[in-house]
């Protein structure tokens, strides 16, 4: 007694770690007692899908097929998790039970509610990235439209299982081509510039840091505008480009920011500004390896990571910053496999220059003894200090200084700085042919930087004078290159490296 096994195939995708992976769902229905098996290294969230699919089918006007239902998800050797398999399984069952009249290739993903509604699932952007455009039918949840825009696919968004019937039975399938063209440039509300007026070194430092993706540290008394200065940073950087929008969006999704009411989660070309503070858990900052959840470092990719009160962090968190600051990736390992999240951000650290914080203040007296100050500053280890390209001192400014230092209006400065940063980015793009910056390129190559041997010898003199490491020497060249880029000069000159030197030197 053999009957022809009726196997229906539906395509979907899942995430293996952070790597998208196509999957094929095979559904077979054979006569017999009603059973429902899902096989293929699935976790309980997938196996529970039968509980959701049954009522949903009924609620949407379909019938729950009778008989042995076997759902096999291949590749079967990979562990899978997530509820995005609901929709493809349901569609597979409907086709297998001949409730839907199709025999061409179908891609679907999405979670189904008991009432038949279709919901988005986390990390949609990463999954959708992989879809080839030769499927006849592509269904995605309406919640994932933003993700679809990021990866620019052609798909049909649906919000309820009944829509499937309308589209396939009545032949109304008209996929939408998603793209980012419709995305309007977001208006970035940068804080009032007056809070950093007169802090010319800090402003210049921020400008250089934003132009070449250099790590910067702002030191000043409480309330002198360090945080504000950091926020200005993301405002003067050019908006995200197409692929970067997808990167940022997908990592934010993966980090679960979609469900966080505190977060302003939307698809936009705004550069991420991530604020971390000493009270944050290690997992939140660096990421959670057991869940492969990216942390703030990865979320800040293409943007700004602002570390407030840098001297107050626990040692293990600070030291863990070493590799991301140097290699611009966050590495995690889970189950014997390594994962790397890109983390190419401008690192802005802020802190007080001493325990009482008043060291740089005019008039007010710093009450720290040299030993107290030394102990305070020593909380930052040498390797971390070495990775900072620019140190800028800040202090509260008197009204007199404000008037003397700034004569043009804030918006002009803001706009000017934006233009300068953009110009510098364009130069760097043509130099590296990639989204690499002076601060993030692998080697500080004097030839590539167009630094003459004279310029290099000046940089060496500064490094020797200040006892810099080889990295410090490289940093001087890098920052010097950015200064030359800001000036629009092809060749670096002596003044560039000397200016770079002043940002790198510190009196502690």
């Amino acid at each position: 007694m053999s009957s022809k096994v009726n196997v229906v195939k539906v395509h979907t995708s899942f995430l293996d770690g952070m790597a998208p992976q196509l999957a094929l769902i095979e559904v077979s229905i054979t006569p017999g007692l009603p059973t429902f098996d899902v096989i293929g290294l699935c976790d309980s969230s997938i196996r529970e899908s039968r509980g959701r699919i049954g009522p949903a089918l009924v609620a949407s006007g379909f019938n729950m097929p009778k008989g042995h239902i076997t759902v096999s998800i291949t590749p079967a050797y990979m562990k899978k998790t997530g509820t995005s398999f609901d929709l493809p399984i349901a569609i597979g069952m409907l086709i297998a039970s001949r409730q839907l009249p199709i025999d061409s290739s179908v891609y679907a993903s999405g979670e189904i509610g008991l009432d038949g509604s279709v919901h988005g699932t986390p990390s949609a952007t990463l999954r959708l990235k992989l879809i080839p455009d030769d499927y006849s039918f592509v269904f995605i949840p309406e919640d994932e439209i933003d993700a679809a825009k990021c990866v620019e696919i052609k798909a049909m968004p649906i919000d309820h299982l009944t829509r499937i019937k309308e589209l396939l039975v009545e032949g109304n399938y008209q996929p939408v081509s998603f793209n980012l063209d419709s995305l309007s440039s977001s208006v970035i509300d940068v804080p009032d510039f007056s809070c950093v007026k007169g802090q010319s070194k800090a402003i210049r430092g921020l400008l250089i840091a934003a132009s070449g993706l250099h790590n910067i540290m702002l030191l000043g008394s409480p309330g002198c505008g360090k945080t504000m200065a950091g926020k200005i940073m993301s405002g003067i950087m050019p908006p995200l480009t197409g692929p970067e929008i997808g990167d940022v969006y997908s990592i934010m999704e993966a980090a679960g920011l979609k469900d966080d009411p505190e977060e302003d989660f939307s698809l936009s070309d705004r550069r991420p500004f991530r604020y971390i503070y000493p009270g944050m858990s290690k997992g939140r900052i660096l990421g959670n390896p057991s869940k492969l959840m990216p942390g703030e470092l990865a979320i800040a990719n293409h943007g700004v990571l602002f570390a407030d009160e840098i001297f107050e962090y626990k040692k293990d968190i600070l030291e863990a910053l070493r590799i991301p600051l140097e290699d611009h990736v966050v590495r995690m390992s889970k189950d014997g496999r390594n994962y790397a999240f890109p983390a190419s951000f401008v690192f802005v650290a802020a802190g007080n220059p001493c325990k009482c914080g008043m060291l740089y203040e005019e008039g007010k007296r710093c009450t720290c003894t040299p030993q107290v100050r030394k102990n305070y500053l020593n909380r930052l280890s040498g390797p971390i200090k070495d990775r900072i390209d620019i140190y800028a001192e800040m202090r509260s400014i008197s009204s007199e200084n404000m008037i003397s230092s700034v004569t043009v209006s804030d918006s002009v400065i803001n706009e000017d700085m934006k233009q300068m940063v953009k110009a510098a980015w364009d130069i760097q793009r043509s130099r590296y042919n990639d989204a690499v910056f002076n601060g993030t390129c692998i080697n500080a190559d004097a030839d590539l930087f167009r630094a003459s041997s004279e310029v290099v010898s000046h940089a060496a003199a500064i490094s020797e004078d200040e006892g810099f490491s080889a990295r410090g020497f490289g940093k001087i060249l890098r920052v010097g290159r950015t200064i030359a880029d800001l000036d629009g000069r092809e060749d670096m000159c002596k003044a560039d490296v000397y200016e770079a030197g002043i940002y790198r030197k510190r009196d502690w």
Binding site: G198, Q199, S200, K201, A202, I203, R204, L219, P353, L359, Y360, E362, C366, E393, R395, I397, N401, S404, S405, A461, I462, D465, E466, I483, L486, K494, A495, D496, Y498, E499, A500, G501, I502, Y503, K505, R506, D507
Partner: protein, 403 residues
């Protein structure tokens, strides 16, 4: 040769050939008949003999001079010949080029002869000077130290004064010339003479790039007894005196005692107690001389002396140096009104000037000078790298007091 020059030479000839000594001159001065420039002419001597009552010894001396009129006139002619041939100049004590330090001490020559770069002598007032003296047969150690100190000190713009002798003196001059510094040789014979003759090349180089001074009239040969007297000029011209190596009975010790008596800082290079040639120096250390360890201490001390001098001299302190640089007052005005006219070097001076007033934050500096932070940062950084200023608690200060 103008009349003034000839009358100066006449004074010199009367003092040297006519053997009119210091005491006699002092007595003539006390009669109130000498004019402010202290020129002594034969005519004057005749009149003073007639009109004033002088002590026996002085009147004998004056008569002697008058009797030797022929010799004196002959000497003047000889002087003129040498001066014109060797291109010497005559500096009387009231001349603006006459070293300020000498003006304040007694027993300094009324007239000196010099050869070479006149500016160096007048610059000493504002740059300061260090004398480096020592044995004529130094050990390798002292010689090496001499070269090091001479180089480091002259790199700071401070003049190196010595006596053109063999050994330490020559090393000090050579190292200074090599570092393109300012060097002064005070020699124990006429400014046209070379002593010792082995140093002829050095003499020529100094007379081209540095300056050679002598209080002896031109053409005067070396007199051994004069050496200590010459040493008093070396120590008097400098702000600090470095004794690199001195044996038990070394002439260098004269220089040290002159320096001490003139109120100069005496530094002695420490050396082995088993080295015969350094016992004199070690004795000096026992007597309370300072130990010479690093050039920074010396430089700092000299700068302090210059600062003192600036206070004493007030407005007559030479702000503008002879190489035609703009004075800082001019630069200050230009920095406010006509920024484009200033060169990078001049901006550095303006920045230093601003920092010397009080420790200042770079942001404030930028708003005070009203120049872009990028330009200012590179200036400040360069000044910091060359150790002229340093960052102390977020504010820039001068590393060492400057002129």
């Amino acid at each position: 040769m103008d009349d003034k020059g000839i009358s100066l030479l006449e004074t010199v000839a009367i003092r040297n050939v006519g053997k009119l000594n210091y005491k006699a001159v002092q007595e003539l001065k006390s009669t109130g008949t000498l004019d402010s420039s202290c020129h002594i002419s034969l005519g004057y001597l005749k009149s003073v003999l007639k009109n004033c009552s002088l002590s026996d010894r002085t009147s004998v001396g004056v008569r002697e001079c008058i009797n030797n009129t022929y010799k004196i006139n002959h000497a003047i002619e000889k002087y003129i010949g040498i001066i014109e041939k060797e291109k010497l100049w005559i500096i009387p004590s009231y001349d603006k080029d006459y070293p300020y330090e000498w003006k304040n001490l007694t027993g300094m020559p009324e007239i000196v002869f010099a050869k070479g770069n006149k500016n160096i002598l007048s610059d000493i007032t504002s740059s300061g000077a260090v004398s480096i003296v020592g044995s004529r047969k130094p050990g390798r150690y002292a010689e090496y130290a001499t070269e090091e100190f001479s180089k480091n000190i002259s790199l700071e713009g401070i003049a190196i004064v010595s006596g053109l002798a063999l050994g330490i003196d020559a090393s000090a001059h050579k190292a200074c010339l090599k570092a393109e510094g300012k060097t002064v040789a005070i020699i124990p014979c006429g400014a046209d003479g070379v002593y010792p003759y082995q140093n002829i090349d050095l003499y020529r180089e100094i007379s081209a790039k540095g300056v050679i001074i002598s209080e002896l009239p031109p053409g005067e040969p070396v007199i051994k007894q004069y050496f200590p007297a010459r040493n008093r000029l070396i120590s008097a011209l400098s702000d600090s005196c470095l004794i690199m190596e001195a044996g038990m009975y070394s002439g260098t010790l004269h220089t040290a005692s002159f320096a001490a008596a003139q109120g100069k800082d005496v530094f002695v290079l420490p050396n082995s107690i088993y080295s015969e040639n350094s016992i004199g120096g070690l004795e000096l250390l026992r007597d309370g001389a300072e130990v010479l360890i690093d050039s920074d201490t010396v430089i700092e001390r000299v700068r302090g002396e210059v600062e003192k001098r600036r206070m004493l001299m007030g407005s007559s302190f030479p702000e503008k140096n002879k190489s035609g640089e703009r004075t800082i007052e001019v630069l200050r005005t230009l920095a406010k009104k006509n920024k484009d006219l200033l060169s990078e070097k001049e901006w550095k001076r303006v920045v230093l000037d601003e920092i010397s007033a009080k420790p200042i934050n770079i942001d404030d500096l930028s708003s005070v000078l009203a120049i872009p932070i990028s330009f200012l940062a590179s200036l400040v950084s360069e000044l910091e790298t060359t150790n002229q200023i340093e960052n102390r608690q977020g504010k820039y200060v001068l590393t060492i007091p400057r002129r």
